[in-house]
């Protein structure tokens, strides 16, 4: 069997006395689309923060392509090909839309901390950034400050800068939160398009999106994964029905 893209073992996180993540074991294969669902406050974002080194775990390990990444900084993990978006839009609001995407390309194109290259002279950077803008449908907003975009456009930009660097493991935290139906459809299509062939791990509340997109689903409740499996199996799982899905699916109607 090939090495999983991401492997969590015994992952635990406490804030003071509050145990928020209570021992998570999870293995996500290459090119798998994995959705993480669960009620508010279950610890989904915290789990993302542990994987991406925004927080240090209390216990446990995180392996990216078989390599232990505990103790690394976020930028080091990013360089290993893991990129994430945030539940609360996290972009560079004062910079232009184009500049946002270009900054997201710099490291992956090997520019590092160089001060002997001029960014405007690099056709590869400009074309690369414009290609991403085209993908996320923001070419027309190219030269506007990112902070002036609509909410849905900012979310699209957030996804754009997450995927720009060409990471092969993409983590999206509630990409469609707070969006209208049409906006949700737009973002879902976008996610499908830009994560083609990549490992996708996504927190999502919209069950339509989850069941339409995911190869496998994990249900997180009170810091524990109570079920992992194919969408149909998870949907049928009585534990899941009881803890979460029953209510969530009902809310859909």
């Amino acid at each position: 069997m090939s090495v999983p893209a991401l492997e969590l073992t015994g992952l635990t996180k406490s804030f003071g006395h509050a145990k928020i993540i209570r021992g998570i074991d999870l293995s996500i294969g290459k090119a798998e689309r994995h959705a993480i669902i669960g009620p508010n406050g279950a610890g989904k974002s915290t789990l993302f923060n542990l994987i991406t080194a925004r927080f240090a775990p209390t216990k446990g390990t995180v392996k990216l392509h078989g390599e232990d990444v505990i103790g690394l900084q976020p930028y080091q993990i990013n360089r290993k090909g893991l990129s994430r978006s945030f539940q609360i839009t996290n972009i560079f609001p004062a910079m232009t839309v184009f500049e946002n995407v270009r900054c997201a390309l710099l490291w992956s194109q090997g520019y590092k901390y160089s001060f002997w290259n001029l960014v405007n002279n690099s056709r590869r950077l400009t074309e690369g950034a414009d290609a991403i803008l085209d993908q996320i449908n923001l070419l027309e907003r190219r030269n506007l400050p990112a902070g002036t975009l609509s909410y849905a456009e900012q979310r699209a930009l957030e996804i754009g800068i997450t995927i720009a660097g060409g990471a092969d493991v993409i983590m999206l935290d509630e990409p469609t939160a707070g969006m209208s139906h049409s906006e949700t459809d737009y973002i879902t299509d976008l996610i499908m398009k830009v994560t083609e062939g990549k490992t996708l791990i996504m927190v999502e509340h919209d069950m339509g999106v989850v069941f339409g997109l995911a190869d496998r689903i994990s249900v997180l409740v009170y810091g524990e994964i109570i079920a992992t499996g194919k969408p149909a199996d998870v949907r049928a799982d009585p534990k899941v029905q009881e803890a979460y899905l029953g209510a969530a699916l009902e809310a859909e109607h």
């Binding site: 930028y75 972009i91 560079f92 710099l106 290259n117």
Partner: protein
């Protein structure tokens, strides 16, 4: 229209690029021309001194803005990098054999190297975070090094500082920089070169990421960049150019003292940069020019120049946080809409009385100062080319009246200006 459609699009892109090339080069060519011509317009030696001081401040302020404006790092101790660069250059001037082995225009490079070297050391711990921690460390290090100047006398020369003679350098095409005008062109060369390099820096990957880290360090980290290292590189580069400014100071004045690196000097450069505007590359240039003029020209007129400089700074911070550059750039949309004409009359009606009112206020300040501080019996003072007795009532009444009337008219006409401003900024037809 059809003509445009038939032309090869790649050619038009090329033409656009060539067009934007001249657009970006134009300010630099103009600046070079202005630098060359200035001594023919302002010929006196004091004017040359003032301009040299101006250009040195321009370099220092631009270097400072690499931190404040572009990197989001507020430093209260940046004078130490300029100061240490200046001291290093003085010591090189005094190392006669070495100094004689290269021409004087090269000397500022050593200032830059020492400034950058010190920044490498301090930056290694100060750039871990921006914000308050960075500001406090910069203040602490600034105080520490300023205090060292009386302890490490060998390097800082104690209270007298270090002096030297720039003419001992290897002659530069036969030139020994005996005359002020030679030093002027040396300084001008360096201000142009430094400004261009700092501008280019802001266009490099690390320069772009400095903006990103300033706006959102966390997001930058999730894009593969260590916020700390991005700050570090900006910090070292800023130290380098500050050191260049210090080296030019050493060449100009042939003496460097503790005053060059103390906290007061650090405060001044913050003030200059903010006054000019941190949001635009050219902001600090304006700030340096305006401040140097206030400091030199106004200080010849009044002892209270620092009071006026402080008031100017306060007014800028409170009413135009974008600084003078921000104030200028506010007008760009108006010009783009072709509506600048709408503003001429309201500006005239408000700003002229306001200026007169403020001058009246200045007169009151000067008279109060004279009344309180002139030696006993010396009641005569001269203000705005008028000589009068500051202990009589009439001048006070006149000054009060001018102030009150000027400000009252300005206040009256301000709403119309506001309206004109919003008209000029809206795309639609004027109602």
């Amino acid at each position: 229209m059809s003509n445009q459609l038939t032309t090869d699009p790649s050619k038009s892109a090329q033409r656009m690029r060539a067009g934007s090339m001249t657009m970006t080069l134009m300010p630099w060519i103009l600046a070079a021309g202005a630098l060359m011509l200035m001594p023919f317009i302002f010929t006196s030696s004091s004017a040359l001194t003032i301009m040299n001081q101006m250009w040195i401040t321009v370099i220092f302020a631009l270097a400072y803005n690499m931190l404040l404006g572009q990197g989001g790092m507020l430093s209260f101790g940046h004078a130490v990098y300029a100061g240490v660069g200046g001291f290093a250059c003085m010591h090189i001037m005094n190392a006669s054999d070495f100094f004689a082995s290269f021409p004087l225009p090269v000397l500022p490079v050593f200032g830059g190297i020492f400034g950058a070297g010190l920044a490498m050391i301090v930056g290694s711990f100060s750039t871990r975070s921006a914000g308050t921690v960075f500001a406090m460390i910069s203040l602490g290090v600034g105080e520490l090094i300023a205090a060292s100047s009386v302890i490490i006398v060998a390097f800082f020369g104690g209270e007298e500082g270090i002096s030297g003679d720039r003419t001992y350098a290897m002659p530069f095409f036969g030139n020994e920089f005996l005359q002020q005008i030679n030093v002027y062109y040396l300084t001008s060369f360096w201000v142009l070169l430094s400004a261009a390099l700092m501008y280019l820096w802001s266009r490099t990957p690390v320069g772009r990421m400095a903006n990103a880290v300033r706006d959102n360090p966390e997001r930058a980290e999730f894009l593969g960049y260590s916020a700390r290292w991005v700050r570090y590189y900006s910090f070292v580069a800023s130290g380098f150019f500050a050191g260049i400014a210090g080296g030019l100071f050493a060449i100009n004045y042939e003496i460097v003292t503790e005053e060059n690196l103390n906290t007061a000097s650090s405060g001044v450069i913050l003030l200059v940069t903010f006054l000019g505007g941190v949001g635009f590359f050219f902001g600090p240039i304006i700030g340096a020019i305006v401040f140097t003029l206030v400091q030199t020209v106004l200080s010849l007129q009044t002892e209270l120049w620092a009071f006026y400089a402080g008031s100017l700074f306060l007014a800028t911070v409170m009413f135009f946080p974008g600084g003078l550059a921000g104030l200028l750039m506010m007008h760009v949309p108006v010009f783009k809409l072709g509506k600048a004409k709408l503003l001429i009359e309201p500006y005239f009606k408000t700003l002229l009385p306001a200026a007169i009112g403020i001058l009246g206020l200045c007169a009151l300040v000067e008279m109060t100062f004279h009344f309180r501080h002139a030696t006993k019996g010396d009641n005569e003072m001269t203000l705005f080319w008028t000589t009068f007795d500051s202990h009589t009532v009439l001048p006070w009444l006149i000054a009060l009246a001018v102030t009150a009337v000027g400000l009252a008219i300005a206040k009256r006409t301000a709403p119309a200006l506001k309206e004109a401003w919003s008209d000029a900024n809206s795309a639609g037809e004027v109602s």
